[in-house]
């Protein structure tokens, strides 16, 4: 497939997401506000419960964790819930009949949503830093690389669950459980036994980089290789499960059913 055609698909998918984001801006804004209100509750509630000093010690972790958590919404939920939505709208089969294939269309949709989600998450990050008075280093290159690699685990899981949704359609309760898994992984201590959890380890590296302003090239190469390998494995497993589920859906004749 020519690069121009792929670019055309990218523009079409991104254009659709932007159009929907703008048209339903109240809904889009309410998502940011909800996460911000949760942060406020945690921040002020924490201050009241354990005191300023204790909460300040872990504030950078909380801010980075919330930033990643809000981004993981886009990374995970896009492929996972999009399948149910598209099946419900009767458009899933149309996406499947794209010469690019359903995998690529869904992956591009996830990337487009992630790009839009990144903008809203950065807005949230600024709000959190202003509210808490804790300003973290934001080296665009370093943060971008670490965020993308960290989000791959959420994206891979999203693809896998999106595949399951192709067969069973309504699995939104399972999605909720995965959100709690993400929260747990973000709150997990930086011990090696937790490094394989989605979002974990990348969260640790990002927090370190934003707290100390460490640039990417000063992060140990072994850590970056591990993060990259983990991202690739999660994505690969996600694609394999998604493809297997599509094959089963075609065999059972349920690709477009809702």
């Amino acid at each position: 497939m020519k690069a121009t055609a792929t670019w055309a698909l990218t523009r079409a998918v991104l254009g659709r997401e932007i159009a929907l984001f703008k048209r339903y801006w109240i809904n889009s804004l309410s998502g940011i506000l909800t996460t911000y209100i949760m942060f406020l509750m945690l921040f002020f509630g924490g201050q009241a419960a354990v005191g300023d000093t204790a909460i300040d010690d872990s504030l950078a972790g909380i801010i980075v964790g919330f930033f990643l958590w809000s981004l993981s919404f886009s990374a995970f939920q896009t492929p996972a819930t999009a399948v149910s939505d598209e099946a419900q709208w009767g458009t899933l089969e149309q996406l499947y009949m794209s010469p690019f294939g359903l995998n690529r269309v869904m992956a591009l949709k996830a990337v487009a949503d992630l790009a839009i989600g990144a903008i809203t998450s950065i807005l949230l990050l600024v709000l959190m830093m202003v509210t808490s008075g804790t300003f973290l280093a934001f080296n665009v290159g370093t943060v971008s690389v670490l965020v993308v690699l960290t989000m791959c685990s959420a994206l891979g899981l999203g693809l896998a669950f999106g595949g399951v949704a192709i067969i069973y359609k309504r699995i939104s309760n399972v999605f909720l459980l995965v959100q709690f898994l993400f929260l747990g992984a973000l709150a997990a201590p930086p011990d090696p036994q937790f490094h394989l959890l989605p979002l974990a380890f990348g969260n640790d590296l990002l927090r370190g980089a934003m707290e100390t302003g460490t640039p990417l090239w000063e992060i140990p190469a072994a850590d970056l290789v591990f993060l990259g390998t983990k991202a690739a494995v999660y994505l690969l497993v996600g694609f394999v499960v998604f493809s297997a589920c599509v094959r089963k859906a075609k065999r059972d004749g349920v690709l477009g059913h809702y």
Partner: protein, 345 residues
Amino acid sequence: MAQTERKQATGTDDSLLRAAQVRKVYRGSAGEITAVDGISLDVSSGEVVGLLGPNGAGKTTLIKCCLGIVSPTDGEIIVNGADPFDSPRAAYRSVAAMLEGARNVYWRLTVRENLRFFAGLQGRRPTKVDGQCDRVLRRVGLTEKADEVARNLSRGMKQKLSLACVLIRDTPLLFLDEPTLGLDVEAKEDLKDEITRLADEEHRGLVVCSHDMDTIRDVCDRVVIVNDGRVVTRNKMDALLDAFQTSAYRLEFAETGDVRSGLDSFRTEWHGERLDVTVPDNKALYNLMEQLRACDAVVDSIETVQPDLGEIFLEITDETGQTAGRQCERDIFDGDADYTAGVKS
């Protein structure tokens, strides 16, 4: 325009779809269900093929098999030279489908945004297709609604938008499943003209699946009637209508005599003093006349009943009709090498 004339006009007999002996068996806890049982279907460029059948006959499964959305248990499918299962990307450059009518579009996007998105799905830059969008919108009568959000459109307009989204993909082969659903009379006529134009002028191949017999009769070159997963009749539209035209007669009597009880061996239907009778062949017509004479009936007038595709469809797909369909098919296609009977007993 008849199929053969279209082929002459286009100067090609390229096959856009070749589905051979397609079979689909669903296996579940309740056992096996054969949805499609050895159906073959061919579509050439410039040809409109009607696919008819009662609910649950296997039409949708067959279409989805042809589109690569449902994996067939057996059989071969080639879309414009590409296998949709082995080479889906090549196949999907050649085929687009309107599967569930108005449900095929994004209700939260505007009409134009929908068209741009579906053009993009085909690898065409959304901003480069505005001219084509305008042309497609003009053809389906949605120009004034270009910037309207789809969910605000009427049912019929959503249906038109769905068709527009298929057309914008610009593929040589189109599947239209119930394209006239929800359309008013005028819109239906416009759609029929558009289907005919797509075949005649753009030489596209179309498979139209509909319960709207008028549409099927007016736009299709050939019709394939399926029931219980099998082809019951496969015929040129004109030939199908002709076959049933010669077998049904309407008689009016000056005197009926004992005729109401004396025609048990024929399919009859009384409308007051008027009798519609269907005979299997010309020889039987003479037998009918003999019996009328034996019943002391005096025939005032006799005329050929103009066939109605809906009645033909019902006749063919009911149990007794299957026999009629088979007979009809044999009559028409004896010696015609281009078409096979396609009837499995």
